[in-house]
Amino acid sequence: MDLTAPVLTGYGMWAPVAWLAAFVAATIVVYLLWRTGESSYKKGTEQGRPYLSGNAEPEKGAVHIRASNLYWGFLQALKGYYDAIVPLHTGVLTDYLVWFVAVTAVLLVIIGVLS
């Protein structure tokens, strides 16, 4: 099979050799730019740490933002709903079982009435 020919998929063209050539060219350009940088800084001292007006850099755990902060928009918009629902999650297993049984009973009644 001809390795350099592009492959026609149902969605478009895929030419892996062209991709490879593009990556190599990009790597050469990046390397040339990186070489013009400054290499003689002292590793491990303050020169590698961010400037925080002279304050020490806090450890990563202290400034880490959890991924659940991503959907704070939902939390703000549906605040009423969350204020009602979250206290119901008491953490007690029997409460959850009671909820499960009650909701199943209601559903069965509704299905029985409808059918």
Partner: protein, 143 residues
Amino acid sequence: MKLTKSFNRSLWVFHLNTGSCNGCEIEIVATICPRYDPERFGIKLVGSPKHADVLLVTGPVTKKMAAKARRVYEQVPDPKLVMCIGTCGQSGGVFYDSYNLDGPIDQVLPVDVYVPGCPPRPEAIIFGVVKAWEKLERLEAAQ
């Protein structure tokens, strides 16, 4: 890092206040203003010590600021110069006997050029920068 010719063209300056009354800050700002216009020599104020060549330190070093000043000094990349503006950093100035200071600036950082005055005139600060340049040229010639 070797001193390159670009040091003759521009010196980027970061200003650090270690508890000063702001008189020296106002004079530094007055030096940057168009009347004395150091930007024609390539001197400009930058916002981060990591972009700076010269650290302008004002004020006597208060106890709360000593560690931070040391940290900012270490964050300035080499080669660097430290200029001490004002008498507060040299001998305490009006705070020559104080309970809350960690000493003149050269107890905390190594200083290259001292510009005395309370506050020093912009002409004096420019003269200090000229001295700093001469020192850099001596260092470059010695390399």
